[in-house]
């Protein structure tokens, strides 16, 4: 019998009742992150069944998706003034649901409020070996710490609230080996975009990915989070990276990380969370990034991506390809470089952390966003906002003509007031370029923070390597 992979070790550690042919496993969840959009119906299901929340201490609650990113001094006044009552109702429902069920809410005014997948790691709640779920598909982000993080639906949110467990069949495993040294101006976002381009948006369906190899070892935690974050865009629900010194150094001293003797015991346990040499994976993919270029998407899913110096692929008669390029108003065989840009968005759970903001600031410093381009820079959390301001990054952004906002999901998903207008093209550091994702009729080009910043200055899609 072969050894165990990282995923199998975490899986086995959480099986309450093993699966049989007839029934799935009862699978324990260590951390449940909840936000205002995918939970109201789950809390209603609890009320209808008369069930309490089993472990409010294992629930991390915040508000991020439908929240405004303009400054708010008084929540009630701000909600009363909202033009659309539905998001306001949802935010009020979240406040009430958390109060009714005894859950601490990191709401407005909290120094710990932010995007769900940003604050978990930031406060040290995300830890190696944990199972972490949220009613949000980008829960895969937490896998960067050697946790098993995956997105769930609202019925499953109810299951976890009521029982701290899910019903699960064991997924298959997949190793993604990434080797080679990245060139300047090429980063984690380009790696994951290239990988999804190679695997396709369904290449990981049914699998949990483990990202391995020297390139991964050389990445900092924020870069690892960017990679794991977009795992779902390749169809896999979870993507994991074995914890190492980089992971421990990131977590040490964070408010919810173990302290003192508990810390030492935890690190000793975490060091075992690596795949055994003889672990067997159901599938393996290799990617050499030595010659990787910055990548940009041209179509309407993250797999429709090209190296920035290359052209949109040729038309081979595929109906989905044609529909995508027609929507994007690009032609087959045209270069993406030089395409006029209306909006640049820096933010989202993919790229809204300090290293992302610093990279953007380095490129914008002392320069001006091109005339006619609107640029939004939205920190992933209140703590990041504070830190960026401490470093003076906000001054660089605003001096360059960009808008500096309050923390939230903002323009990633078109469900708060930050939206693209019909036909507008946005170079975005977010994770999805689906039709209308950033607002009805909006056109999204996914890119790294560096590419986004370079494009903001140029007013057209631009190669960040020339802006370094």
């Amino acid at each position: 019998m072969g050894g165990k992979s990282l995923f199998e070790k975490v899986w086995d550690d959480h099986v309450v009742v093993p699966e049989t042919e007839d029934t799935p496993a009862v699978f324990y969840i260590d951390l449940h992150i909840v936000h205002e959009v995918t939970t109201p119906q789950a809390f209603n299901m609890l009320r209808e069944s008369g069930l309490p929340v089993r472990r409010p201490d294992l629930v991390l609650a915040t508000m991020d998706h439908s929240t405004p990113t303009v400054p708010i001094t008084n929540l009630d006044e701000s909600l009363d003034a909202a033009s659309d009552p539905e998001p306001a109702n949802q935010i009020r429902a979240m406040v009430k649901n958390c109060a009714d069920f005894g859950i601490e809410l990191h709401g407005f005014g909290s120094a710990q409020r932010g995007i769900v997948h940003v604050i978990g790691p930031e406060i040290g709640a995300t830890q190696p070996g944990k199972t972490i779920v949220c009613g949000d598909s980008h829960s895969s982000t937490h896998g960067a710490f050697g946790a098993m993080g995956f997105g769930i639906g609202t019925t499953e949110v109810c299951h976890v609230l009521a029982t701290q467990c899910l019903l699960q069949r064991k997924p298959k495993s997949m190793a993604v080996n990434i080797t080679g040294k990245l060139k300047p101006g090429v980063g984690a976002k380009d790696v994951i975009l290239a990988l999804i381009g190679k695997m396709g948006v369904d290449g990981g369906t049914g699998h949990v990915i483990e990202y391995r190899g020297e390139t991964i070892r050389g990445l900092n935690m924020e870069e690892r989070m960017t990679i794991c974050n977009m795992t779902i865009e390749g169809g896999a629900r979870a993507g994991m990276i074995a914890p190492d010194e980089t992971t421990f150094e990131f977590l040490k001293g964070r408010p919810q990380a173990p302290q003192g003797a508990d810390w030492d015991a935890a690190v000793e346990r975490w060091r075992k969370l690596v795949s055994d040499d003889d672990a067997v994976f159901d599938k393996e993919v290799n990617l050499d990034v030595s010659d990787l270029e910055p990548h940009v998407t041209y179509g309407t899913n993250p797999g429709m991506v090209v190296p920035i110096s290359q052209n949109v692929p040729s038309d081979k008669g595929d109906a989905s390809f044609r529909k995508a390029i027609e929507y994007m108003q690009v032609e087959a065989d045209q270069p993406m470089l030089g395409t006029p840009v209306d909006v640049v968005f820096v933010g989202s759970c993919t790229n809204s952390r300090m290293t992302d903001l610093r990279a953007v600031a380095r490129i914008l410093d002392g320069k001006q966003v091109a005339g006619g381009v609107r640029m939004l820079v939205v920190p992933g959390s209140q703590a990041i906002k504070d830190k960026a301001e401490e470093e003076g990054l906000d001054k660089i952004f605003t001096a360059a003509g960009a808008e500096w906002r309050e923390a939230g999901c903002s323009m990633c998903l078109g469900m708060n007031s930050d939206k693209l207008g019909k036909g507008e093209l946005c170079v975005s550091t977010s994770n999805r370029n689906f039709e209308g994702r950033q607002g009805p009729g909006g056109r999204t080009v996914l890119a790294s923070p560096e590419t986004a910043a370079a494009s903001a200055l140029a007013g057209v899609i631009a190669d960040p390597r020339e802006a370094l």
């Binding site: 119906q41 439908s66 009613g135 598909s137 639906g153 299951h159 019903l167």
Partner: protein, 194 residues
């Protein structure tokens, strides 16, 4: 969940690959706090123009589509966001089964918990269904097979537990609740605590 053993209907065909859940229910419709009436949001940006008028050539707007209960979709249907609003909207519109050669994981899980039958078939059968919109087929959950107009039957995989819940018309929560003692014991005996 309503009991479902088999369903027979003509099909609506949406021959597009990688249809994501942002298309099935655009994000601006996720601000509701209940699931009632979500069917109006189904494929909102593909069904309606900017003035709210139906786009005539979209498959779900074609004559008879409102009565069809089976959707045949391109490969990798339901990718992207975890929003359960996607199966809720399909069900609210009247769709009770989705057939494709591939269905994304989270959408598939969410569907099974709501009584929307995800039917995954081989690529040849899939292509035939895409080429023949309006074909009358039967999705037999009990027999785990799809019956085509020619009389040919094609098996499809469905998790035995999810199938049991559909046939009995019970939700998945009950089974978890029956395991509360096991969960308490697990929590007490762990080698570490989260």
């Amino acid at each position: 969940m309503e009991k479902i053993t088999q369903l027979t209907s003509t099909t609506t065909v949406l021959a597009i690959d990688d249809v994501d859940t942002d298309q099935i229910v655009p994000a601006r419709y996720l601000t509701a706090t209940t699931r009632e009436g979500i069917g109006k949001a189904l494929f909102a940006d593909w069904r309606f123009d900017a003035n709210g008028n139906e786009i005539a050539d979209f498959p779900l707007n074609q004559p008879g589509a409102a009565d069809r209960r089976i959707l045949v979709a391109g490969r990798n249907f339901g990718c992207g966001s975890s929003r359960e609003h996607a199966p809720w909207a399909l069900l609210d519109f009247g769709i009770q089964a989705v057939i494709s050669s591939e269905i994304a994981d989270i959408f598939r899980n969410n569907s099974l918990k709501n009584g929307l039958v995800p039917v995954i078939v081989d690529t040849d059968t899939h292509q035939w269904l895409l080429d023949n919109p309006g074909a009358e087929v039967t999705v037999d959950v009990e027999a785990r097979e799809l019956r085509l107009p020619s009389g040919k039957t094609v098996g499809f995989p469905i998790d035995p537990f999810a199938r049991h819940c559909m046939l009995e018309g019970v939700d998945h929560t009950g089974f978890l609740l029956q395991n509360m003692d096991n969960i308490t014991e697990f929590e007490a005996n762990r080698s570490w605590q989260p």
